[in-house]
Each structure stands twice: as C-alpha cells, then as structure tokens.
C-alpha cells in the first residue's frame, strides 16, 4: 500500500477496538514467567551450553599476548575463542567499533574472548583465568568542554536563516549560557543476551533480544560473511532496549563463535558490569544556547551550538535536533560538532538528540521567560509555530503544542504555582514548580506484514518486535479492527526473520509504521476474500463479510486465505513537518539544608495523533517521565578521564530512578488525529514522554530555590554552596 495522500475518513474513525483501553495481550505470559526471553530458550535449544565473555581491561591500545591455556583446561570448559584467534570481523550496520577479532582495543570492555562451558559458573571462572598482555594507547584528552571551546564557531552551520548577528545586536533581551548533559546508559532490565545455534558452522539460528530483526539479520550476515538465507533470527520478547538493542552487539557474535567452536548451541548474556562500556551509550553533550527576544516575548533569534563525542566514524548525540523546528523566531543558527574520542561507543538512546537537546533548550526558554518577566507557559505559547520556521512553506501536519501547554497549566494548577525562591515550603523542603515543552520527530519507516485467515482465525505475521511497548497488542487491535473481527480471533506471530520485514522498534517509529503495515496487509486480505467470494466493496464487521444481501461469517471460509503487503510512504509527506508535542509540569521539593531533590508530582500532556491504546501508550509516557527523573537527578556515567572508561558500571552505582523517586504521575492525551502521518492518523509516543521531562524538573528546582543549575544531573554538590545559609 502506498500512502500517497493524507487520509480523510476511514474505518478507524468508527473504531471499536483501536483507541480503546486494552490490556496487553502478552501480559499473562510475562507475569507467569512463561514468555521465552533470549537467554531462556530452553524450549528451542534445551542443550545450550553457557558462554561467558571477557572484556578488555584498558581504555584503548593493543593486545600483545593472550594465554588461554589455563582457561581451556579449566573444569567443564568446551571451547575458548580469543580475539587473537580470528581476523577482525566485518562490521554490521552502525557498528563503529568492531565486535570481535584482531588485536586492537578500541574501548574498555570491548569483547576479547569467549569461554563456553557446561555451567555458567565454570564459564565465568575460566574466563577469569585468561591472561592478557596489553600495550596501552596514548592518553587522550577527554575534556569535552575544552574540545568544544576549540571548535566553537567553526564549520558550516547545520541550519542558518535570517541575520542572526543583527538579531542579537538589536534584541531587547539576550540570554547566553552553557549547559552540560552527561553520558547516559540505557540500563534496561534485560542485558544484551542471545542463544545461538551455529553448531556445524553452516546454518545459524539466533534467538536474541533485539529491537530490529531485519537489521540484525543483515548485520549477522555481514559480520560473519554468510548468506542471509542461512540465518534465522528470532526475538519474540525483549526486556527493554531503549536503543541499546537496535544493532548487533557482542552477545550474539560471541554466542555464535562459541557455538561453532564447541559444536553446540551456546547462550550468552552480557554481565551487567560490561553493559555500560561494552555496548553503546548516549554521549555527553556540551551546549551553548543564546536566545534573543523582543519585549513582547517573540523570539528574534535562537543560536544553539553543541558538541558530543564518539569513536572515529561514529555518531554522537545531536543535541540540536529540535532547535531548527520547535519554536518560531526570525533568525536561527544551529551547529552540532561531533568530536572523536577514544571512549566506549556512542549511539542512539531513547529520543536521541531531543532528549539531551531539550534538557538545555527548555532551561534556556525558562531563563528567557524570566528575563522577560513573563510566565514561561505564556512565553512558549507566544513562540509557537504552525510552520517549519526555517522553511515557512512547510506546515506542520498537525501540531497542538499550545493546547498541551494550556490544558496542562489548567490540570496542574499552574496559576497557583510558587512564584518566588523559597516562597513555598513544606517543613525543610522548598517547593517549586516547573514547565517544559516536549518535541520529538514523528518518523515512519516502511513496514510489512502478512495476514492469514484460517478457519475463523486471523493470523498476523510480521518481523516487528515488542520491546515491552505493547506492539503485540496494538497490532492485534489494528488487525481485528480492519478485519471486523474480535481481538480473541487474532493470533500474533512476530519478531522472526521468516516473516515480512517491518519497521522494527526504535525512534518511536515502531507503532505508527508497523500498525500501518498490518493495516495494509489486512486490506489486501480483505480484497482477496472479496475477490474469492465475488463480492463488490464488501464491509467487514462483527466477524462477517457483508455485501448487499450477502452476509457470510469469516469462520465459514474454509480454505486458508493469505495476503502480504507493506506500507510505503509517499513523497507528499516531505511537504509537511511531522512531529509529536507535549508539555511537562513538575512539582519538586528541594531540601533547604541538604539539597536533596525529590519530585512530588508530574503531569504530561501529549499530542501524538490517535492514541492506539491508552493503556500501553500511558505506560510508554510514564516510563519516559521516569527516565526523565533519572536524567534530571541521578543518571551520570562517571568518566574516569585518565583511563577513558566509565567507572560506575553497575546498577548499584549508575543510578536510574527507583520506585521511591517516582511520585504521582498523570498523563493527558489530546484527542488529535494526524491524517498526514499514517492511515491510522497516529504517531509514536514512546519517546515523547522523556523529551522535556528532565528540564521541567530543572526549572522546578530553580523555581523552588532561585539557583539555576545547568549541569546535569542536578545533584546537590553542584549547588549546595548556594543554598540559603544555615
């Protein structure tokens, strides 16, 4: 199905299943512990042995020798493969550092050996017996701030319009500040894990935990130089990814090499302490934001320059992602510098770009509102835009940012907010309120599916993944709705390389793309059924196909009918800016003596088109808000600048928010429809909840204390000296 023009009305406008609160269909499997996760595929590979990885012990350099003799002779060991045993493997999609092979160490904990043994404990103990000699690389300058100062002002701007210099010269009010966001780790509950059967070195089966079946499939083929047809990839359940599992990683590669060497299936999960440095993370950023405004609050200029690090050839966080498009304003200058540094690999993490960019921009907006003596909600409303500011011929497909702010202000009680530093107290706690805008692009990707009607059952096959988001459920809802069947009639088969290629899960493109693909397949199935029965323009409702006087129950169709299709996105979408929008409102308490900060309540109002399932969508948004609390208050990959690695590499020391950090959370979805975006008029919402949540906390802290902290996480060491004296 080619999506060639905006949808007017279609069957989803009278939806009975889509848009209705629906519990996740895979819920019972998960709460009974019977959903088969990658490391527990005892159903598929009951004889799998245990693999255990060894990570490099230096930041970067070379391995000069490895002695694996003791490991090979250790009890229970069936195979040991060291990185010196094989040539460097080819790199799969978006792998920057190689995953295995050769003597070069590009980052700490890069995989350098795998041990296969009969028990997990034996494999782990043997891996510790491998003796490695290194030659350390030259110490590198890992000071991102200094690096930013060196490149500041250089290079062609990524976005430039209007006379920026004049705007800043003539503006009534100008703000100019530096902001810092730290490296962040995905730290999903399930570490990267795979079970691989490559016992005979021929065909390979990979049971893995990955967000993107097709990319993974292709990358395995490239990495090992084998035909994709010989590889089968399954990833039916993923215990969180947040972008960490978009790409092929060392777990699958090591399990495959171990399996071939031992001649048996092998399962391998990255030990938690390896996840932070072995896999990818969100790079730290340095950002300078200058705003220029007229006395009436309209923005004259936005000047955003940022830097992030990455390994040579890689991608760092682009914190300027939202700046060209989010707010109105006559002039703009935007530049992101990506600087090479020998650190662990950086790549996408939930809302890559916007998450870090809004952490700075939305503080800057708060600062400007204050300089203008204007309500920050009002200041944002004044600077709303319905067109792409850098290309005013391009309208937003559907944008209700103002309504998010207004509804939020109303529901939160913004009018009764604290208005002066220290103005509101609860015992020793200074109470403050903050707002921030949320923006995240609404990307869609081609996505395919097969729909099969078989004896009254509707079977959906697609390689789409469910990374805990609810894909099984919303896809089943889409299919049932399109076919006029009930949810119970639908059998979902997903996340298998044998099924049609879907968008996969990432960048909040999964839900809008994959449901569209399933809609396409179901429409193709409808056409086939109509053709088979010789019916003209039939309707499908209540389990029946109806045309004129003819009414037939779909369960009475005896032979199997199958149709496959994919959604493809027409060029017309290039004529629009597509995004999702929101507003976050937060109340915090900052302890007047200690600077401890606790969030007391949070509200997000979201504009993301049709909400396919309010239950799973709300879970996504509150999950994003939780991540925002972590980003604001505690998450920080602690860089050892001398050694070039992240020292706090476990869940006790890399502090994500815990239950006790999370207060009452409210989510309001605006009832919006975006017919430009998808046939279902839906957009993604999985990342929107994170965007803007952290700066809303930051602004609330400022509101409480009068102390502006621009360096995340906003821990007390950064401002305790400025708290009121005791």
């Amino acid at each position: 199905m080619k999506f060639n023009s905006p949808v007017e009305t279609n069957l989803f406008d009278d939806a009975k299943i889509i848009g209705k609160p629906t519990q996740r269909v895979d819920g019972p499997l998960k709460v009974t512990g019977t959903a088969p996760y990658a490391y527990e595929r005892n159903d598929a590979a009951p004889d799998a042995l245990y693999g255990y990885p060894l990570g490099a012990a230096i930041g970067h350099g070379r391995i000069t020798a490895m002695d694996a003799e003791a490991a090979r002779n250790a009890p229970g060991v069936r195979a040991v493969v060291t990185t010196l045993d094989i040539d460097p493997l080819e790199k799969g999609m978006n792998n920057v550092a190689r995953l295995f092979g050769g003597n070069e160490v590009q980052h700490y904990h890069q995989a350098i050996a795998v041990v296969v043994a009969e028990t997990f404990e034996q494999a782990r103990a043997a891996a510790a017996r491998i003796d490695v000699t290194y030659e350390e690389g030259e110490a590198a300058d890992l000071d991102l701030d200094a690096a930013f100062r060196r490149v500041e002002g250089s290079g062609e701007p990524d976005t430039l319009f209007g006379d920026v210099d004049a705007a800043f010269r003539d503006a009534a009010v100008v703000t100019d500040q530096m902001y810092h966001t730290p490296g962040e780790s995905h730290t999903m509950m399930e570490p990267h894990a795979s079970t691989v059967d490559w016992s005979d070195g021929g065909d390979m089966t990979v049971w893995t935990s990955n967000q993107m079946i097709n990319w993974n499939h292709q990358s395995i083929a490239t990495t090992f130089g084998i035909e994709p047809e010989r590889i089968r990839v399954e990833s039916p359940y993923v215990g969180g990814g947040f972008g960490a599992k978009l790409w092929l990683r060392a777990d699958a590669v090591l399990a495959a090499l171990g399996s071939r060497a031992a001649g048996v299936p092998v399962k391998l999960a990255l030990p938690r302490p390896m996840v932070m440095n072995n896999t990818t993370h969100r790079s730290a950023t340095v950002q300078r934001i200058r705003l220029a405004a007229n006395p009436d609050g309209t923005l004259k200029g936005i000047w955003h320059e940022a830097a992030a690090y990455c390994l040579p050839g890689g991608r760092g966080e682009n914190a300027t992602a939202q700046t060209p498009i989010f707010y109105a304003g006559e002039t703009r200058r935007v530049k992101n510098h990506v600087l090479d540094m020998p650190l662990p690999e950086t790549a996408d993490m939930r809302a890559p770009g916007e998450a870090s960019g809004l952490m700075a921009l939305e503080i800057a907006m708060d600062e400007m509102a204050e300089a203008l003596e204007m309500d920050p909600v009002r200041f944002r409303i004044i600077n709303d835009t319905q067109v792409n500011p850098s290309d005013p011929d391009i309208p937003f497909s559907d944008r209700h940012f103002v309504e998010c702010l207004e509804r939020g202000a109303e529901a939160f009680g913004w009018a009764e907010r604290n208005t002066s530093a220290g103005g509101r107290r609860d015992g020793d706690w200074l109470i403050g309120h903050g707002v921030a805008g949320a923006y995240r692009g609404a990307l869609v990707l081609p996505s395919g599916a097969r729909a099969i009607l078989d004896g009254g059952k509707l079977i959906i096959e697609t390689d789409m993944t469910d990374i805990g988001t609810g894909s099984y459920t919303i896809i089943a809802q889409t299919a049932a709705e399109t076919m006029g069947m009930s949810l119970d009639d639908v059998e979902m088969r997903m996340a298998h390389s044998a099924y049609p290629v879907s968008s996969g899960s990432g960048g909040q493109f999964g839900a809008p793309s994959s449901t569209s693909g399933v809609y396409a397949a179901c429409m193709a199935l409808r056409e086939k059924i109509a053709g088979n029965l010789g019916l003209q323009d039939p309707t499908f409702a209540d389990g029946n196909v109806v045309s004129g006087e003819t009414r037939m129950s779909l369960s009475d169709i005896n032979e199997e009918v199958s149709a496959e299709d994919a959604i493809e996105w027409g060029d017309f979408q290039d004529g629009y800016a597509m995004g999702t929008f929101g507003a976050h409102f937060v109340e915090v308490g900052v302890h007047a003596y200690t600077g401890e900060t606790r969030v007391r309540r949070m509200l997000a109002v979201c504009d993301a088109g049709r909400i396919l399932n309010p239950v799973t969508a709300r879970s996504q948004v509150i999950g994003g808000m939780v991540m925002g609390v972590g980003a604001a208050l505690s998450e920080d990959m602690a860089l050892d600048r001398g050694r070039g690695f992240f020292a706090n590499h476990d869940m006790a020391s890399y502090e994500v928010a815990v239950h006790a950090d999370i207060p009452d959370q409210q989510v309001i979805f605006l009832d919006t429809l975006d017919g430009v975006a998808t046939p279902l008029k839906a957009k993604g919402v999985g990342e929107l909840g994170l965007c803007g949540a952290a700066p809303a906390v930051a602004n609330a802290m400022y509101n409480a204390t009068g102390i502006r902290v621009r360096d995340y996480p906003l821990t007390m060491d950064k401002f305790i000296d400025q708290l009121p004296s005791i």
């Binding site: 404990e121 401890e596 505690s634 050892d640 815990v658 005791i726």
Partner: protein
C-alpha cells in the same frame, strides 16, 4: 567465582576450629556481600563456612538493661524489633535506610558490620587497588579518577575508601560492643569503635578481627534516651549508599552524640566533637572533620555533613 569447598557447622566452637584448620576459609552469613565479591573474584576463599546453622539469631536482654543481638539476626528483624524501635530508634532508622527490603531480609548483623567498601575501583578487578591487591596502587587517587562517593577523612594516600554501612554508624553512636570467639576458642569483646581500622599503608587490613575470628553477638549498652535520628543523604531516594549520613542522639540539655557515615573508612565519631553539640553543627564539624583531605569531586561532603546535622539539630 573460584571453586570452593563448603560446610555448615552446628556450633560456634566448631566453626572457629574449622576456620583455624582450613587455610583461606571465610564465614558466610547472609551472603549479600561475600557472594558478590566471590563472583567478581575480589575474594576467592578456598573454603566457605556457613554460619547460618549456629543459632545466634536471637535478641536477648542484658542485665544492665541493654540488648544482646545474635550475629545472625537479620537486618529486617533487628530494625523491626520492638525494643530497638522503642529504645534505640536511631538503629532502626539507620538499618531501614540501607539497601532494599530483599537485601535486608538476608543481611545479618555481623555481616553488615563486615561488609566491604563500594569503591568502584575495588569492584573492578581490571583496576589497581591497594585494598584488593596490596601494592598495586589506588585506582581512585589517579588523575581524572572518579572519587565522588569516596572518603574525605581518616583516609590515606594508599586508600580513600569508605565503609558503606548505615547500621554501623548507628551502632557507633550507641557505643555497641562486638563479642567474638577467637580461633583458639577464647571469647573477647571489641568496641565497635575499634572494630574497623584506618587504612594507613595497609588498606587490606580492615578490622581488628583475627583471621578466623567469629562474631557471635553485638551488644548494646543500656538505652541512652534522648531524641534519636538518622539522616541519610543520597542522590536517589532509595537503594543507594550514603553520600553522607548522620546518626544523632540528642539530650534535652543539648548534649549528645553524633557519628557520620559515607565520609570515612569507619563510622566517624569523636568525643571532642560530641562535646561541641550544644554549640551547633558548625562547631561539631569543625572538630569532627578537622584534617579532612577531600578530593575535588567529594569536597562537597564537608558542607553537606554540616548542613545535614544542622537540619537535624533544628528538629531534635
């Protein structure tokens, strides 16, 4: 984890006798610390003596009106004990501020006192660490290292690790006494004050216990009364070790006792600092933290400790 042999003796004298006999033996209580360290091969005992069969899991009254706590009393049970809650509330609060419900269910009184530092370089066997591997250097004291969590006082140029326990800080402020059985079968007593050693040049030596010496009980003297409080400061609200914690006992006349956690290789208390309590937080800290040698990253702990105590004094 290295392979090890295991046994579960039935009484304390058997346990110490076996510990004396078998080289490299270690006692295992709740295992919440030891097993982690063994998995990382930070510790690799050849023999593990499980003390969970020794009894020693009761809280009894002593003649002087205090309590005698068996070493195997769990953190959960101890913090919930009615006498502790009534007469030693600082201990209840300190324990409840530590770790998580699951961990506290397993963690024991003796094990908690003997838990080892959470210094990230101690935990990463690729890194130098004088405590884990004497003479290899201190990973946390090199240029650019991550030291935000580590100690500011009582540390040395060999090691700046802290003792991470919350419970121990309350035990210190209550002047608890540790009862042991030595390898030769003698019983002895060690004040909690003297249990943990400062690192000096030998950070691998952490306690006054001899190898194979078994903690059997921890004794609390008669209740000291007063208003008691424990304030633990951390970045997230739970499941994090203290940046700074303060245990306070304050009498109606303004005198009292104060001990700090999160700042030193042992619960940090000084009699001459206690004496300053009537003069306020700044006066206490000017004595208690005198001679502190923080790193650039953890200097904030000095301010934080003073402000935390100030907040508590206002309440108490």
């Amino acid at each position: 984890m290295r392979a090890f042999s295991y046994e579960k003796p039935a009484n304390p004298s058997e346990a110490v006798a076996r510990a004396a006999e078998v080289e490299g033996a270690k006692f295992l209580a709740g295992g919440t610390n030891l097993l982690d360290l063994m998995k990382h091969e930070i510790e690799a005992p050849a023999h593990v003596i499980d003390v969970n069969g020794l009894g020693l899991d009761e809280v009894t009254e002593t003649e002087d009106g205090g309590l005698r706590i068996g070493t195997l009393v769990t953190n959960t049970a101890l913090s919930a004990h009615p006498r502790i809650r009534r007469d030693y509330p600082v201990l209840t609060r300190a324990i409840a501020a530590g770790a998580t419900g699951q961990l506290r269910n397993k963690a024991t009184t003796g094990g908690n006192l003997l838990q080892r530092t959470r210094c990230p370089y101690f935990f990463d066997t690729n890194m130098p660490c004088n405590k884990r591997s004497p003479g290899s250097g201190c990973g946390a004291l090199t240029e650019g290292a991550f030291s935000r969590q580590l100690g500011v006082i009582g540390t040395s140029s060999s090691c700046i690790a802290t003792h991470p326990s919350d419970m121990a800080v309350a035990m210190r402020v209550l002047d608890a006494i540790v009862e042991t059985v030595t390898p030769s079968g003698m019983t002895r007593e060690i004040a909690v004050e003297d249990l943990h050693l400062l690192p000096g040049d030998t950070p691998e030596r952490e306690t006054a216990l001899m190898p194979g010496e078994l903690i059997t009980h921890v004794r609390l003297p008669a209740p000291v009364g007063g208003t008691q409080a424990y304030h633990k400061v951390r970045d997230r609200a739970s499941y994090a070790f203290a940046l700074v914690s303060v245990a306070l006992v304050r009498q109606a006349d303004g005198t009292g006792r104060v001990a700090l956690g999160g700042v030193a290789p042992k619960p940090w208390r000084r009699a001459d600092a206690d004496a300053q309590l009537p003069n306020g937080a700044a006066a206490v800290m000017s004595v208690l933290l005198d001679g502190a040698t923080p790193t650039e990253e953890n200097a904030f702990k000095l301010t934080l400790a003073e402000r935390t105590l100030a907040a508590m004094l206002k309440e108490a």
